[in-house]
Symmetry: C2
């Protein structure tokens, strides 16, 4: 099913690989063929699409515009294909997800497993990144669905849903704080804490609050892995901070305790956004998974709110 001129596909490959010869390798064609198609495109557009650096190609402004068009075309082609396929009964395709680490512990694996149980022919690609990288990958068309902290998102993305979860302290069961219902930041800072590095968005949530306190915090551990921080906390090394999403199962059958943070009487919210490219209709199988994702996160938000009512 190849109704689009090869120039489109070649351009797309060159943009992704950043090199004509590399694109040619991916496409299984001679590099000369790719080079010529790009030159032809540039002639028809009337303006160069790439800047030729000594080491590969970079998009020009016009090139970026064309890249957007090509992405729209190819993604809509995917959707068309899936529409035709679903007409003859069988769903098949790949859902590509970019998300932050908090989802990997239970939300995403649960959802994917349950979805695959019902739709065997749908496969998944997931990539864990930082929040801004998630949005960037989405913009570049490298993923279909993005889950990230709700920062300001670029205009070519659409925020499908926004769910807020309470940020909390995570400590081992034997920790002195573990008996409490909620904790304040000050109480936590009296103990060794496991801090997020600036590449994690938790850092940007907590840093302003910590800065307000005049205390000098205990000597702390810093890390950039939610997983690592959680495991450290479980071993009693200190107090970690994250949303309950990241410790769904572990908090039940093991030694972790989640304590919602209380900042001057009000909770500390961590806003999670679900994003897709704005100029695009998703294939049916992707749309279906997306809706399950939104439903599931909404459910967790609701459950959590019931467990830790904000007005406590």
């Amino acid at each position: 099913m190849r109704f689009h001129s090869p120039a489109i596909q070649y351009f797309h490959a060159v943009r992704r690989t950043g090199s004509i010869r590399a694109a040619a390798r991916v496409l299984n064609v001679a590099s000369s063929a790719v080079s010529r198609q790009i030159l032809k495109l540039e002639q028809e557009v009337g303006s160069p699409l790439f800047e030729r650096n000594a080491r590969g190609l970079t998009l020009t402004t016009v090139g970026e515009m064309l890249a957007r068009h090509v992405m729209n075309v190819l993604q809509d082609l995917d959707r068309f294909r899936s529409d035709v396929a679903s007409l003859s009964g069988a769903w098949s395709g790949t859902v590509s997800i970019a998300c932050i680490e908090s989802l990997t512990e239970s939300v995403l694996p649960d959802l994917i497993a349950s979805h695959r149980g019902r739709a065997r022919r749908v496969s998944f690609t997931t990539e864990v990144k930082g929040s801004s990288d998630v949005l960037e990958a989405l913009s570049r068309g490298e993923a279909d669905i993005g889950i990230a902290m709700a920062l300001r998102h670029p205009p070519d993305l659409r925020q499908v849903a926004l769910k807020r979860f309470r940020l909390g302290a995570v400590v081992a069961r034997e920790h002195p704080l573990a008996r409490r219902k909620t904790v304040t930041l000050e109480q936590c800072l009296a103990f060794p804490v496991i801090n997020a590095l600036p590449e994690l968005s938790i850092y940007h949530l907590l840093q302003p609050l910590i800065a307000q306190l005049s205390e000098t915090p205990e000597p702390a551990i810093q890390a950039n892995s939610i997983d690592l921080m959680r495991e450290l906390a479980a071993r009693g090394v200190g107090v970690a901070f994250q949303t309950q999403l990241g410790i769904g199962r572990l908090s039940r059958d093991s030694q972790l305790v989640f304590l919602p943070l209380d900042n001057a009487g009000s909770p500390v919210w961590s806003d999670l956004g679900i994003y897709v490219r704005a100029e695009r209709t998703l294939p049916a199988y992707t749309e279906s998974f997306l809706q399950e994702l939104v439903r599931e996160l909404g459910e967790r938000e609701r459950r959590e709110n019931a467990a830790y009512p904000p007005t406590s």
Copy 2:
């Protein structure tokens, strides 16, 4: 600038004309070329795209899916072109509008004239239709912007704005009703009225209200042209019904009077919707005009509300 496979464009032309030979004439190519491209497409998709009736071709279900994809591609190509053009300063392109008749008297001509004064290279195509035909033309990609009565719109359209205007009676200055501030439907029906035919949406607005009244209305004139109805009213033939949008200028310097309808103490609203295709980013020049259109209609809605406050 033709980077898409000819099959795409041929398919598009065949869909619009409903015939391979007619498409070939439009495209200035031999009909055999068109036929072959369609056959090739069908082979690649793996399923027929058209039903060959004795008199031309009709889309199959798969064909309609491909049609949607092709429309998305071609329209996004337009947008890309306009983006590139606007980069070198000069806007140029064609804004295609489908709207109902009420707009033709002053709103649309005013807007187009003023817009052309600022952007000479932008040309316009406008087609006047009934409300449901407007939405249909929009769905089929035959127009960029649609203005129609706000009915239920199909999911592939997006309602950009919704403005409500008061339905009113339009009478000649010498008409007995002309001295009033507002009128009720009953008062109007005491005189000869000029009714809309069912093809106009005004009919569907008024008919339920008229049916509630037990009176037998005066022998009436029926017409399907807003313009004709207005001119008839100006000649004192009877009472016409429409929104004030249709008589903007005429009510000022001529013999027409607009009287907001009062139905059991509350106004009768006529909802005007502005629509675009949902899966699409508009070219810059179209987007610009669209925003002016929304602003202008909002302005008229505001002005009218000030002139005839709903609570009177």
